[in-house]
């Protein structure tokens, strides 16, 4: 049946602004509306979409139906237990605004607050605290899932349950998550104490991060253009939530205030402006700006976690061809592979602002969940159509051979057949889907591209 009367046609792409396709988009106001849309979807199927912050084609469904969840945005917090129940389209930004004044914080936040709870579950997102707190899915206590037949199931937060394990990190392919209940963490204030220190090269950065568990939040910003002795030079930031007592008097009055503003949009730019020279200059400045001797400062949560949220639509800086992010994880012991991949990115002089390096703790148990124990590197790259393809294919193969994987929420170029080599639980994932969605109602451009 035609799906035009369910929603409106729209061209959709991810944060990278690449590979746009056209779908029918509907924005339900109730769970019942999700159910009825799913049962009326045509042969091209359905996928859920949150705020479209995945970089590639995960939240789009060419020729089919896309359920935009952003109108389902109710949030409730039990201020005693810290249990949050949020509709799938509620953003982490909105949730933080509810939680922080009451002394609570989200257990996991990505580098942007503009993601939905549904997207947090779909990609099983991780933050700077993964090495101590795990990914978002480990904090989920239960969720409501609308299945292929339109029925709403309550799924308990137990990774022993195949449906839950398939849904956490399942990229929307088990159904539409309508509501999520998760445990928040304590944060008396909206501030973080941050230790900033330089690492002269990759080896030193890894050394500093390898055993550190004193800081809840750690990340290294790494300059991929530095060569030779300084290859992999980084600035590490290590943070902990501040208690009210630790906050200086000047900040006491507004200790829990959280009202970050978004500044002007970035203008679209010809992508040529982002070249190795301009980026090298930027990276140099930024490295020099970091204190020579480790120093501790107090930063607002917005400043520490989401520095890029200050500029709306910064992805337009990459011009018409768009951008992509390459993010992989390799096991802790595979430092040689990590080094090789950093060298490779370096050697191709892929103009990139800072890349992010981080140590992950153990994985959550989600079948397609990305984080697993090891080193993860994420790097934004300008897209040059038709070029670089061979380099990514080779890096993908090296990552897979080392027992690592590519983050599906960032993937935009992986080839069919690679996911099988990276995600050992893919067969379990497929078995769950065959069971609950035998006719393949849930499908995305990404699942078609990769043959998930």
């Amino acid at each position: 049946m035609p799906i035009d009367d369910i929603g409106r046609p729209a061209s959709l792409h991810g944060w990278g602004r690449t590979a746009a396709t056209t779908a029918t988009v509907m924005s339900p106001r109730s769970v019942a509306e999700i159910s009825s849309a799913i049962t009326r979807a045509g042969s091209r199927g359905v996928i859920a979409r949150g705020l479209g912050r995945s970089y590639g084609d995960a939240a789009q469904n060419s020729g089919g139906l896309v359920v935009d969840t952003t109108r389902l945005d109710r949030i409730s917090l039990d201020p005693v237990t810290g249990l949050v129940t949020a509709e799938a389209g509620a953003s982490l930004d909105a949730i933080m605004r509810v939680l922080l004044p009451q002394g609570w914080f989200v257990p996991v936040t990505p580098g942007t607050r503009s993601v939905t709870v549904g997207g947090a579950v779909g990609a099983d997102i991780h933050g700077k605290n993964h090495h101590v707190d795990g990914s978002f899915g480990t904090w989920v206590r239960s969720l409501l899932l609308v299945g292929a037949d339109g029925t709403v199931r309550e799924v308990a937060g137990d990774f022993g349950n195949p449906l839950f394990a398939a849904t956490i990190g399942g990229m929307g392919l088990t159904g539409v998550v309508a509501e999520v209940t998760f445990q928040a963490i304590r944060s008396e204030t909206a501030y973080v104490s941050v230790l900033t220190r330089r690492a002269a090269n990759l080896a030193e950065a890894l050394e500093l991060m390898r055993d550190d568990n004193d800081y809840r939040y750690t990340v290294a910003w790494i300059d991929l253009l530095a060569r030779g002795e300084t290859m992999g030079r980084s600035v590490l930031t290590l943070g902990n939530h501040l208690t009210r007592a630790e906050l200086p008097a000047s900040k006491q009055a507004r200790a829990s205030a959280f009202a970050p503003a978004t500044r002007l949009s970035a203008p679209p730019m010809p992508s040529g402006l982002l070249n190795p020279l301009s980026v090298r200059a930027f990276n140099e400045l930024w490295y020099r700006k970091a204190p020579r001797v480790p120093a501790t400062t107090i930063e607002s949560i917005g400043h520490f976690f989401h520095p890029l949220d200050g500029v709306a639509d910064w992805n337009r800086l990459y011009g018409r061809a768009g951008l992509m992010q390459y993010q992989f994880v390799v096991p802790l012991e595979a430092t040689a592979v990590l080094r090789g991949l950093v060298e490779r990115l370096n050697e191709h002089q892929l103009a990139s602002f800072l890349a992010v390096l981080k140590r992950f703790g153990p994985g959550s148990g989600g079948y397609l969940s990305f984080p697993t124990g090891g080193w993860t590197l994420a790097v934004d790259l300008p897209v040059r159509p038709g070029r670089m393809a061979g380099v990514f294919d080779e890096m993908d193969r090296e990552v897979a051979a080392a027992g690592g994987r590519i983050y599906l929420a960032k993937d935009a170029v992986m080839r069919r057949g690679m996911a099988e080599q990276m995600y050992p639980d893919l067969e379990k994932f497929r078995a769950v889907r065959a069971d609950i969605d035998p006719s393949g109602v849930f499908v995305s451009d990404q699942s078609r591209r990769l043959g998930l």
């Binding site: 046609p9 061209s11 990278g16 690449t18 590979a19 746009a20 396709t21 056209t22 779908a23 091209r44 590639g56 084609d57 060419s62 020729g63 089919g64 768009g322 992509m324 897209v383 040059r384 159509p385 038709g386 070029r387 670089m388 393809a389 990514f392 935009a412 170029v413 992986m414 080839r415 069919r416 451009d445 990404q446 078609r448 591209r449």
Partner: protein, 251 residues
């Protein structure tokens, strides 16, 4: 599905033994395409072997006769049903005889129109329907500089190309907003079996050069591409020449 770098996965060639068509498909496979269907009026074993060697994981052949117009929708549907989503359809079948042949046989002329235009439209519309339904994909049509301003010496062939060009450009507009599109390719003289025995024209090029231009235009999402680029300039001049001058130089 097309990826962020413009790489495609599945490609169909209508006119599965065309020199230009196979050059395009070969480049698409080299750039990453994996599944290919060749629709031709006979076996294409060499092409199949070459494409597999170039990295394709599957190459199927399907029987296709451009003159059997009523079969076209069915052939197109069966190809799409088999491949799932199709990223690129290259439509490269055509015939070309000297104008004297058509002067002597209006029936041969009508058959040429059937192959070069009617069949392009019957398959093109069927492809457009499927591309529209899947919300993405590109139909590549091989127009020609011969259709920009038709020469008396190339009357029938030129007229079919003029019709095809108009069809392609407007079909693209018709698909606007659907996610699907049409790429109209306008080569000058290309040395292939179609032009064997014909005198070589200025700016003559090769199937490989046409293929490079098509692959680049696909990745960049263009609607029209001239090969080589200079024939676009030549064509612009052709278009505005006063008729007496045109008659003299085109004879």
């Amino acid at each position: 599905m097309k990826d962020a770098l413009g790489r495609v996965d599945s490609v169909v060639l209508l006119g599965g033994r065309s020199d230009i068509g196979l050059a395009v498909v070969t480049k698409l496979v080299a750039a990453g395409a994996r599944r290919v269907v060749l629709a031709a009026r006979g076996p294409a074993d060499d092409a199949v072997a070459a494409l597999l060697a170039a990295g394709a994981t599957s190459v199927d052949t399907v029987e296709f006769d451009a003159l059997a117009v009523s079969s076209h929708a069915g052939v197109v549907d069966s190809i799409f049903d088999k491949l799932g989503d199709v990223d690129v359809v290259v439509s490269a079948f055509a015939v070309q005889s000297a104008q004297e042949v058509y002067d002597a046989s209006p029936t041969a002329a009508a058959d040429a129109v059937t192959v070069n235009l009617s069949a392009q439209i019957s398959t093109g519309l069927a492809v457009a329907t499927r591309l529209r339904a899947q919300g993405h994909g590109t139909l590549v049509l091989l127009s020609s500089i011969a259709g920009v301003r038709v020469r008396p010496a190339n009357l029938v062939y030129g007229a079919t190309k003029a019709g095809l060009d108009a069809f392609g450009v407007t079909l693209h507009d018709m698909l606007a907003g659907s996610g699907a599109g049409v790429l109209v390719v306008r080569p000058g003289f290309v040395s292939t079996k179609l032009t064997e025995g014909l005198p070589t024209a200025p700016f003559a090029t090769t199937p490989e050069a046409v293929a490079d231009a098509v692959v680049g235009a696909l990745a960049a999402g263009k609607r029209v591409v001239w090969v080589p680029r200079v024939v676009g300039v030549v064509a612009a001049v052709f278009r505005v020449l006063p008729r007496p001058v045109w008659r003299k130089i085109s004879a």
